[in-house]
């Protein structure tokens, strides 16, 4: 949109400059004591701690790899169940009015309640085991899936439906061969949101009630006043989230390359 266009090389150069300035200033600020060392660790320390934590279980009780797998497994379980239930539900709700009218009120009551708000009640009923956490993640991931799948069906181009009708297709056939494929971009948008929600809620759940996982790790970092551990955890959480989103994107390109404009 702009009148100025930068060449690829220049952009890459500026990227590097930006990163160097940011990390350099950060490192210097901590080294020279400009920013207090008790509350912030320099990038070099963070890197050190990360490498150390790959094998060292002290001081928080486990290696970062184990923490990662605990978190990843939990998030994925909740996510997969949510997607498996949410997408079909949303698709059917979008197409069959009876189901829509029946489910929507329940949905509209549940939807505005943030997933995190479910944590206390779930813990009271299900304890602090894996089941509780998976359920909370399920609630967080379920809602966006349903909504987006529902919208995806609702937004099916009426002209396509009409064309199918002129071919003599039944309601079910139209649903299967027109509405569902047409809704895939929105379904994927919902899955993408769900993924982010799963991961974020998992971290919250682990911070509130857990003995392992990345969320637990950063809480421990706070208790032990080890900002380097906290930052290592934060960056790992962020990086994993970004990686999963990228993986999803690649899957979407394979399954539904006709993505609608975001």
């Amino acid at each position: 949109m702009n009148i100025v266009k930068l060449g690829k090389k220049k952009i890459m150069f500026l990227h590097i400059v930006g990163l160097v300035v940011f990390f350099g200033a950060w490192e210097l600020a901590v080294r020279t004591g400009l920013l207090p060392h008790q509350v912030l660790a320099a990038p070099s320390e963070v890197l050190n701690t990360f490498i150390l934590k790959l094998t060292e279980t002290k001081p928080d009780g486990d290696t970062i790899i184990n923490h990662f797998f605990i978190s990843f497994r939990l998030a994925l379980s909740g996510f997969v169940v949510a997607v498996g239930v949410g997408i079909p539900l949303g698709l059917f709700m979008g197409y069959y009015k009876a189901l829509d009218m029946y489910m929507t009120p329940i949905f509209e009551i549940v939807r505005p309640i943030p997933p995190i708000a479910w944590i206390p009640i779930v813990i009271l009923i299900l304890g602090i085991g894996m089941g509780a956490k998976v359920f909370i993640i399920f609630v967080a991931a379920f809602v966006p899936c349903v909504i987006n799948s529902y919208l995806g069906i609702k937004l099916t181009n009426q002209t396509l439906i009409n064309v199918s009708k002129t071919f003599g297709a039944s309601d079910w056939q139209i649903f299967r061969t027109v509405c569902i494929p047409s809704s895939l971009p929105m379904v994927f948008a919902g899955v993408r949101t769900s993924l982010g929600a799963s991961w974020g809620t998992l971290v919250a759940a682990e911070m509130l009630a857990s003995t392992g996982g990345l969320g637990y790790m950063i809480q421990m970092g706070r208790t032990l006043i080890r900002p380097d551990i906290i930052i290592v955890g934060m960056l790992t959480i962020g990086f994993t989230g970004a990686l999963m989103a990228k993986g999803l994107s690649l899957m979407e390109d394979k399954i539904a390359p006709w993505r609608s404009k975001q």
């Binding site: 949109m1 702009n2 009148i3 100025v4 266009k5 930068l6 952009i11 500026l14 990227h15 400059v17 930006g18 990163l19 300035v21 940011f22 008790q38 509350v39 912030l40 009015k97 009876a98 009218m101 029946y102 489910m103 929507t104 009120p105 329940i106 939807r111 505005p112 309640i113 943030p114 997933p115 995190i116 708000a117 479910w118 944590i119 206390p120 009640i121 813990i123 009271l124 009923i125 982010g196 991961w199 974020g200 971290v203 919250a204 911070m207 509130l208 950063i218 970092g221 706070r222 900002p227 906290i230 930052i231 955890g233 934060m234 960056l235 959480i237 962020g238 990086f239 989230g241 970004a242």
Partner: protein, 259 residues
């Protein structure tokens, strides 16, 4: 079946589903030794909490405390977020410099910032406000940036031939064209911010709705928890509705119909 009969039956369904929900609830809560409160208990508890103080404040006060934190952080998030988003969209140089850092920080869930922020600011107001700020700032920047990038080039051309210089192009063309996207970002940011204040309050607070819910959990008081959950949901809906109304006022050109 006639369409009109069908339509009338359709209208029955929502009523049916709410009744089913209440029925299931009542059934579960009347079982021996269950913790689940009956709908009536919840109703009574709600009115209790409206007048009786928990931790030196009634329910409305707690809600207001939470809201205040959200709104304070929100104002800062809008001012800084829109500015950053506009700059990222307008200056390719600035974008190239700043995006990598933003892209590293962006995927970190705001909740994951809580331990670090507590380390920085202690357990006072600032911690909670800062978390909400992070949670709102990011969607606003992303939406504003995206809005700037999606401006119809035709409008830019029109601005150019009408004689706009670079700053006029930004202020008189680009910014108004981006307002719908900014508002969309603000909507996302508001419910995101509300979630963040909850999380922050659940971990470290002495007042606020998040605190109330955790208090209920500590006391094993299910009714309190359920009341809080419902109140949180209602506030969420109210905020969304207000924002949608605001959208209608600020961007009338998106909604008025052609004659």
């Amino acid at each position: 079946m006639k369409q009109s009969t069908k339509n009338r039956l359709y209208l029955l369904l929502p009523i049916l589903s709410v009744l089913t929900l209440l029925a299931v609830f009542t059934l579960l809560s009347s079982q021996e030794g269950t913790l689940i409160p009956t709908p009536i208990e919840i109703w009574k508890r709600f009115w209790d909490m409206m007048t009786i103080q928990i931790s030196k404040a009634t329910l409305p006060v707690h809600v207001w405390v939470s809201l205040k934190r959200v709104l304070t952080a929100f104002v800062a998030a809008i001012l800084l977020g829109v500015s950053l988003g506009v700059f990222l969209g307008w200056s390719p140089t600035f974008n190239a410099l700043v995006s990598p850092v933003f892209e590293i920080l962006r995927p970190i869930p705001p909740i994951a910032w809580i331990p670090l922020v507590i380390l920085w600011f202690g357990i006072g107001e600032m911690s909670k406000i800062f978390i909400v700020f992070i949670g709102s700032f990011v969607p606003i920047v992303i939406n504003t940036h995206s809005g700037m990038n999606s401006i119809d080039p035709l409008l830019i051309n029109a601005g150019l031939v009408l004689g706009a210089n670079r700053s006029q192009l930004l202020v008189d063309v680009a910014l108004p064209a981006t307002v719908p996207a900014i508002l969309a970002g603000i909507k996302t940011a508001l419910s995101g911010g509300w979630m963040c204040v909850l999380a922050a309050e659940m971990i470290v607070a002495k007042q606020g709705v998040g605190f109330l819910i955790v208090r209920g959990q500590e006391m094993g008081d299910m009714s309190q928890i359920v009341v809080c959950m419902l109140v949180i949901g209602i506030v969420n809906v109210l905020m969304s509705t207000c924002l949608t109304k605001l959208e209608g006022v600020l961007c009338p050109w998106q909604f008025k119909k052609a004659k």
